[in-house]
Amino acid sequence: MSANETMSFEQALERLEAIVNQLENGDVPLEQAIELYQEGMSLSSLCSGKLKQVESKIEMLIETEQGLATKPFASSSLEKGE
């Protein structure tokens, strides 16, 4: 498995941990060790990238005639408090 954008954060982190363990055990040929390291680094940057995403959405689930839909939730009202 190689690092790619479709991986979830958990999958990537889990894989990264597995790679670290494998490298720490030292039980792999050198070529594979280097491949693992490269994969680990790209997994690490994938994880970091996912953490840095800031575009968040706050939406509200509503029922329409066509069924369920979402619309932006006016969070501005939240800031005012009650």
Partner: protein
């Protein structure tokens, strides 16, 4: 003379009033209905509060010995029916109600329903620990089922945004109290599951009275939570009491804020985790390479590479030594075998047939000799016997008789002539005497008869 008024101490008058009140039949057993306010549960265990209705209020005490038996947790705003006595706290000169029994007003049936439903769902295994799922570490979308207005939704959204700015929040607005609350919550949970995309659900509301929280004890809501495909965090703002929704949820949070904290990780913490993993990765590779380099170095420094000649000389010496040892050991083995062989040979010699033959031969000779001796002695004996017999025989011999003058006469054909009729006149007969014979002619036959 004016009457000197009797001046009481305050303590005395308070005591007096207390005596009056304590002896009053009504005040010694009073039932009151009211709402709790200014509630304090003192560290001593006693409860202090005020009971009020729309017109008035009275200070109340419930000592720990009595409140330990309460079937519910009294709190601010709870409507109760209480039974007790009214008396005076002498130090303050204040009368108060000393409650010894208390139950939620109008909630008796709700409590019963709660306990019954809880027992039923528990038996069904709806609350089993084995059903609890772990929450995702890094949810992309958090579903929130609560009222769109109020502190709860605000707390949840601000907490999520603070901890994990990238998280999407999908709010399913519901009523959280009143008749329509339960169906609207059930519908929202179902919609969230159908809409998909949520990694975790927060279902809850802010704090309130038991009645206000009641929707979260309704069977339909509890079952909707239990059967949700998305892991559920319950957040019914209530620190001490558990709603049945809390039991059915995968995780129970005491407050909406706590629920949001459980739902999403703190991004900095995660960054830390990722960073640490990256560091570990680099260290691991470095250690890996160091380890390999060390192994290579060790191999390179092996004497066989450093001083190959010495190594080979050593080996040659070893070969010599081994050859010698081999020879020695062969020789020793040979000697040992020879010793063994000669032992066997001497043993064999002792058993050789020649010996036995000699032995038998000896015995044979001995027997032969014995036989000879026996034979000889037997022969001698026989000889002696024979001698004696010969002498005997000799004595009987006709020759001896003839020597005494007897003779024997034979006919011409050699017959011994015993009767006269054997001869006729003119026959020639031979007369044998001791020293010879006479041939005579018969001239006359004389018959005796």
């Amino acid at each position: 003379m004016a009457m000197q008024p009797h001046i009481y101490t305050i303590k005395d008058i308070n005591k007096y009033i207390r005596m009056k009140m304590d002896s009053d039949a009504v005040l010694s057993d009073v039932w009151l209905r009211g709402e709790i306010s200014n509630f304090t549960h003192h560290s001593s265990g006693h409860m202090y509060f005020t009971l009020k209705d729309k017109d008035s209020r009275i200070k109340c005490v419930m000592f720990s010995s009595h409140n330990a038996r309460l079937k519910f947790v009294p709190r601010e705003g709870t409507k109760v029916i209480a039974r007790g006595t009214v008396s005076v706290f002498e130090r303050d000169g204040a009368y108060q109600f000393y409650a010894n029994m208390m139950q939620p007003d109008g909630l008796g049936s709700l409590y019963l329903a709660y306990e019954q439903l809880k027992a039923k769902l528990e038996e069904e295994g709806l609350f089993a620990a084995s059903r609890k799922r772990t929450l995702p570490l890094f949810p992309v979308t958090v579903g929130v089922v609560t009222s769109p207005t109020g502190a709860a939704v605000r707390d949840i959204i601000t907490t999520i945004k603070r901890r994990m700015p990238s998280a999407h929040i999908l709010l399913a607005p519901v009523q959280v109290q009143g008749e329509l609350a339960a169906p609207s919550i059930v519908k929202a949970i179902t919609a969230m599951n159908e809409h998909c995309g949520c990694d975790v659900l927060i279902v809850g509301r802010g704090g309130g009275s038991l009645e206000e929280l009641w929707a979260f004890n309704e069977e339909a809501v509890v079952r909707a939570i239990a059967s949700s495909a998305i892991p559920v965090i319950s957040a019914v703002g209530h620190e001490t009491d558990f709603t049945l929704s809390d039991f059915a949820a995968d995780v129970r949070a005491a407050t909406p804020t706590a629920a949001a904290e459980l739902a999403v990780p703190h991004i900095q913490e995660l960054s830390g985790i990722v960073f640490r993993q990256q560091e570990k990765l680099t260290h691991a590779l470095r250690r890996y390479i160091d380890g390999r380099a060390e192994r290579l170095r060790r191999v390179q420094h092996n004497p066989i590479f450093a001083q190959p000649k010495r190594y080979f000389l050593q080996q040659a010496e070893r070969v010599d030594y081994l050859q010698l040892a081999l020879r020695n050991s062969l020789q020793a083995k040979l000697q040992q075998n020879q010793r063994k062989l000669s032992q066997v040979e001497s043993k064999l010699a002792r058993l050789h047939p020649e010996q036995r033959i000699k032995l038998l031969d000896n015995r044979l000779q001995h027997l032969q000799q014995k036989l000879n001796e026996q034979m000889l002695s037997g022969l001698k004996h026989k000889k002696m016997q024979t001698g004696a017999l010969i002498k005997q025989l000799d004595a009987l011999s006709p020759l001896k008789v003839m020597a005494r003058g007897y003779s024997l006469t034979y006919t011409g054909d050699g017959q011994l002539l015993k009767k006269v009729d054997q001869a006729e006149i003119g026959d020639t007969v031979e007369v044998k005497v001791s020293d010879g014979s006479l041939v005579c002619k018969v001239e006359e036959i004389k018959d005796q008869a």
